[in-house]
């Protein structure tokens, strides 16, 4: 069998991507070796080789990304990566989001930032260039290997090295479609998960990955310093880069929190999810390293600690990569990742850098001279060192708990029957321990600022310190007393944290005024620590005072032992248009609108009332629902947040009628309905099991909420008035059917209080808008009048500029509308304008209907010579019949379930976090510029 010759594939692009990856892989090996050689002997040309090799692999990273973007923008679906992440309807602004949605793309994003950092380091790392760039190139070698996509036979096993983004769909799947040489025309893209189609997905991953990528740099300098057996010179650049890393990684993590809070219905900004934890831990270690680095710079102590902390921060990034990309986390995380099947490569990545870092550390440890005397207990360095140690401790606890799935996996290697352990409640687990970390860090950051670097004259400083610390503690105590009641059901631990947070704020303010006298240039660290204090208070406020207000006040619920009422009263049912009182508010679900095929918006009004029931203010909340492209999938719910200065109100739709959930559920419900068809005229009555309905109105206009007018539409609508037994109310239902060109669609209605679903049968259309060519033909000249069936028909002239909204126009149409005036026997005058079209040298007619008189008018011929037209007049003689389909026991479609949560003090959290990062940035700028 000869191989199939496929048509329409862009094989060149697949080939080029693969070639770029292989060349980049080889070039980074080259860079790594060259830089290694040059680090041994500075005088050779090896450094120049290294530089060029690094620049060449940089070019390969850019080319790979450029080619992939090219293929994505041009929708080359024969490429698996393009097919998986792009679709025809995906807006171009999401092409970046689609690019890094996949693992291959996010690896490339990481490599892109490594290249960016590397090119800066070539220029700036000076004497350290060779070891710095050598190790960075080694990272690029391993990252490139993740994309190689090479399979090596190894006895019975196939060793898979990397997963290439250059694969074609037919190389990934086996399917009968690939028997067709022309298959490219037949496949379409899977597209980006609508949940990820927002701007956060465009900005959060690049920021976070720059943060991840930057964690290697302080380690590179530490490595280079020890490699060159230098004591202290590396501390300065390492610290500058550590500041950068703390800032950018912190920003990336914070953006993730903001995304979770703003756009996803996770119910908060932080959930101690494994993926979140593993991005936090390297950041904490980087902060620990930054502090010991500062100590090392000023006293020469803690140099080896700094080395280890930086190594740990970077290795934890690698470990986090392993956890999130190897599939080991399984069901423990809400974040889902596609498994690239690269476990062993990811483990290798960790081991290579861990052993390299430790080897260099132990080999050169003896050459690093550190002071042997002890730090004084009253110096700032001493307490900073303790603080860093506490941060290390925090990282160990978080990492340890998050690694439980890894532990389970290892145990199962030895004992396959081992039942995996899980943390029953991860949020309370982490909170319980990290609370004490926060207490210690807050106290230390307050205390340490008030001490001075390299304290020598303690005797003279002592009294001032005692004065300052007393002022701080006193002010803290006052503030604490003023505010301690503001927390909802706190434990004593929470009070301690509240006190510590307040102390961090006050003592840093004291420092700002007493020492810096408002000199902002040096204020970076005080600002960062102050921000931390504010953030702690924000976390307390949102964590403890968070209040679920969507509780039905009238619902009777039996207390269930062992569960708090809040635990099972979270959801609130809203009926469309019916106000529902909840705590402090009255909530009304007014409308819902389909914004586009993927988004439905709900309008829910909140009327805030005081205790006497007086209206304080009203606002609208508009949570949305994001539908998946897959018609059988449940849509995801996006919250709407009403932002206030002191608190936010966060609302999302937790449940909605299955008919609105997805196509499949809607079809299933429709299939289960039993319709009966009634043939009725105006004024007729239909009877069903529980009552009757009267046709009140039949018209050619509809007010149905789902109707969007299009040119040329023919509408048939009916108003039916329903009555049911033992009920004096009247229920009016409006339903319609629309004929549009070759298609028709029904606009059914559900009478929720009666459980009825009503729609018009398409056979009604033919009755009201007959399509046959019967009728009476008359020739008319301009301003000529003729009487047919008692109706006066007058031709008033041509209108050559037929507006496009009159009919479904096409490019190249020649259309003329003939202006007629019809006068009924009763004297009512109706205008009519049938249209005569020449489309592709064929004649097309657009009838005009006078709905009230059941008259159809068409212009079937135009004679330019005699300037006359041939008009066909048709009047339906019998009363037209409306065919109505009616089903009983239809499920309600006007009911949703919402959850509303008040987040008090959330702005303290954002303010604190941003102040903290602002402080880091300020410290950084001062050092980067000088």
């Amino acid at each position: 069998m000869s191989p199939i010759q496929y048509v329409g594939e862009h094989q060149w692009i697949s080939f080029s991507i693969h070639a770029c990856i292989i060349l980049g892989f080889l070039a980074s090996i080259n860079a790594c070796i060259s830089y290694y050689k040059s680090s041994k002997a500075e005088l050779t040309n090896w450094k120049t080789y290294g530089r060029w090799a690094f620049r060449f692999q940089a070019l390969m990273v850019w080319s790979t990304m450029g080619l992939m973007f090219y293929a994505m923008i041009h929708h080359y679906y024969e490429l698996e990566y393009v097919r998986h992440h792009i679709s025809d309807d995906l807006s171009l602004k999401y092409v970046f989001a689609a690019f890094w949605e996949g693992q291959e793309g996010s690896f490339l994003l990481w490599m892109f930032w490594n290249v960016f950092l590397g090119l800066i380091l070539i220029k700036t790392s000076k004497l350290y260039e060779s070891p710095v760039m050598g190790v960075l190139s080694l990272l690029q070698v391993i990252l490139f290997s993740m994309l190689l996509g090479i399979h090596v036979g190894w006895g019975e096993h196939v060793l898979k090295i990397g997963a290439s983004p250059s694969l074609l769909v037919r190389e990934t799947f086996v399917a009968p479609i690939f028997q067709n040489p022309d298959y490219v025309k037949l496949i379409k893209g899977n597209g980006l998960n609508p949940l990820l189609q927002n701007y956060w997905m465009t900005i959060h991953p690049p920021t976070l990955f720059l943060g991840f990528a930057s964690t290697i740099v302080p380690f590179l300098f530490a490595f280079a310093g020890w490699f060159k057996k230098e004591n202290k010179a590396w501390l300065k650049p390492a610290m500058e880069w550590a500041l950068f890393s703390v800032f950018i990684l912190g920003l990336g993590i914070l953006m993730g929190g903001a995304w979770a809070y703003e756009a996803l219905s996770f119910g908060g900004y932080w959930a101690w999810d494994p993926v979140e934890n593993m991005s936090l831990v390297p950041w904490i270690m980087m902060i620990a390293g930054l502090h010991t680095n500062m100590i090392a710079k000023s006293t020469g102590r803690a140099i080896s600690t700094t080395y280890l902390y930086y190594l740990l921060s970077f290795v934890l990034v690698l470990y986090s990569t392993y956890l999130t990309r190897s599939g080991v986390l399984g069901a423990t995380s809400v974040h889902a990742f596609t498994d690239m099947d690269l476990q062993w490569q990811l483990i290798l990545l960790i081991l290579v850098f861990l052993s390299l870092g430790l080897y260099n550390f132990f080999k050169n440890k003896k050459t690093i001279i550190q002071p042997t005397d002890e730090e004084k207990i009253n110096s700032r360095e001493y307490w900073m060192f303790i603080g860093a140690m506490i941060l290390l401790f925090s990282s160990i606890l978080i990492t340890g708990a998050t690694s439980l799935p890894v532990y389970n996996k290892i145990m199962q290697l030895f004992k396959p029957s081992y039942a995996g352990q899980v943390i029953v409640d991860q949020i309370s687990h982490h909170n319980r321990f990290q609370l004490w970390i926060a207490v210690l860090v807050a106290f230390l950051s307050g205390l340490a600022e008030l001490l001075r670097f390299k304290e020598i004259h303690w005797d003279t400083y002592k009294s001032r310190f005692i004065k300052l610390i007393s002022i701080s503690l006193g002010a803290t105590l006052l503030l604490f007393i003023a505010f301690y009641k503001s927390l909802n059901e706190p434990t004593w631990q929470h009070y301690v944290l509240q006190f510590a947070g307040t102390f961090a704020i006050i003592s840093n303010l004291t420092y700002l005024f007493a020492f810096l006298r408002g000199n902002l240039k040096l204020a970076g660290s005080a600002m960062a620590h102050l921000g931390f204090g504010v953030m702690v208070l924000g976390i307390l406020a949102t964590g403890l005072n968070k209040q679920i207000i969507s509780t039905n006040l009238f619902a009777q619920s039996d207390l269930i032992e062992g569960f708090k009422t809040e635990d099972y009263m979270k959801n609130l049912v809203l009926l469309k248009g019916e106000p529902m009182p909840i705590k402090n508010f009255e909530v009304t679900y007014n409308t819902d609108t389909l914004l586009d095929p993927f988004h439905r918006k709900f309008d829910i009004r909140f009327d805030q009332k005081d205790d006497d029931g007086k209206l304080i203010k009203s606002f609208n909340s508009s949570p949305t629902l994001v539908y998946s492209r897959n018609e059988s999938q449940t849509p995801s719910s996006n919250p709407s947040i009403h932002h206030g200065l002191t608190k936010d109100l966060y609302t999302f739709v937790n449940w909605l009628p299955p008919a609105m959930m997805n196509r499949e559920a809607a079809d299933k419900i429709e299939d289960n309905l039993k319709y009966q068809t009634y043939h009725l005229q105006r004024g007729d009555t239909l009877f069903y099991s529980a009552g009757f309905g009267v046709i009140r109105k039949i018209s050619d206009k509809t007010t149905h909420p789902d109707y969007e007018a299009k040119p040329g539409d023919l509408v048939l609508a009916a108003d039916i008035e329903f009555h049911q037994l033992n009920d004096s109310n009247t229920y009016t239902a409006h339903t319609a059917i629309v004929s549009r060109g070759e298609l028709y669609f029904t606009l059914p209605t559900i009478q929720n209080d009666l459980g009825l679903k009503i729609k018009l049968n398409p056979t009604s259309l033919e009755s009201f808008y007959p399509e046959h060519d019967k009728g009476e033909d008359v020739t008319l000249k301009e301003n000529q009048e003729v009487i047919i069936d008692g109706y006066k028909v007058k031709f008033e002239g041509f209108n050559k500029s037929v507006a496009k909204e009159k009919y479904a126009s096409q490019e190249g149409d020649i259309a003329v509308s003939t202006m007629l005036q019809i006068t009924s026997p009763k004297g009512t005058v109706y205008p009519a304008a049938p249209i005569f079209i020449i489309r592709n040298s064929q004649i097309q007619l657009v009838h005009d209907f006078i709905f009230e008189e059941q008259i159809r008018l068409s212009c079937i011929k135009i004679d330019p010579a005699s300037e006359s037209i041939l008009v066909r007049f048709y009047k339906t003689k019998t009363q037209p019949v409306l065919d109505i389909d009616l089903a009983e026991k239809a499920p309600r479609n006007d009911l949703i379930v919402i959850q509303s949560i008040l987040f008090p003090g959330i702005n303290l959290f954002w303010l604190g976090a941003l102040t903290m990062l602002g402080g880091v940035l300020l410290s950084g700028i001062r050092r980067w510029i000088v």
Binding site: K188, E561, N571, R892
Partner: protein, 130 residues
């Protein structure tokens, strides 16, 4: 760095103590039999019994959803989840509920679903032939 060693030693002791105390927070997935025996808050992992009734009627009570779960030992129990019906529930492959046994029913207020990943629909969509 004698003082540091002492502090480091203390921290190591504390962390060992914490990791030991962690065993309180940690459990294996329990079976229904174990949950009945120990009357504690546990996690039960199992499969949805698709042939049995799933009940959610928000108009009646939006915080009550019941279904039947089959644990790995083959025991089937009614689970009452004090929440709304989670999204994608019908499609879930594995369900983990947190709560405790009350009589013959397992009352849960937390649920974790393992669904076929949303990011991974290995289907090739075909263009509609018009």
């Amino acid at each position: 760095m004698n003082k540091y060693n002492i502090i480091a030693g203390i921290l190591i002791l504390v962390s060992i103590a914490i990791f030991i105390s962690m065993s309180k927070d940690v459990s294996t997935y329990a079976s229904f039999a174990e949950a009945t025996a120990n009357h504690q808050r546990v996690k039960v992992a199992g499969l949805l019994a698709k042939d049995k009734e799933m009940y959610y009627n928000p108009a009646e009570n939006p915080n009550y959803f019941s279904f039947y779960l089959r644990d790995p030992k083959g025991n089937e129990k009614k689970v009452i989840l004090l929440q709304g019906k989670p999204q994608d529930f019908d499609r879930s492959e594995q369900i983990v509920v947190t709560g405790e046994m009350k009589g013959e029913e397992f009352i849960a207020n937390e649920v974790l679903l393992k669904c076929p990943s949303k990011y991974k629909d290995e289907e090739i969509y075909m263009k509609k032939q018009i």
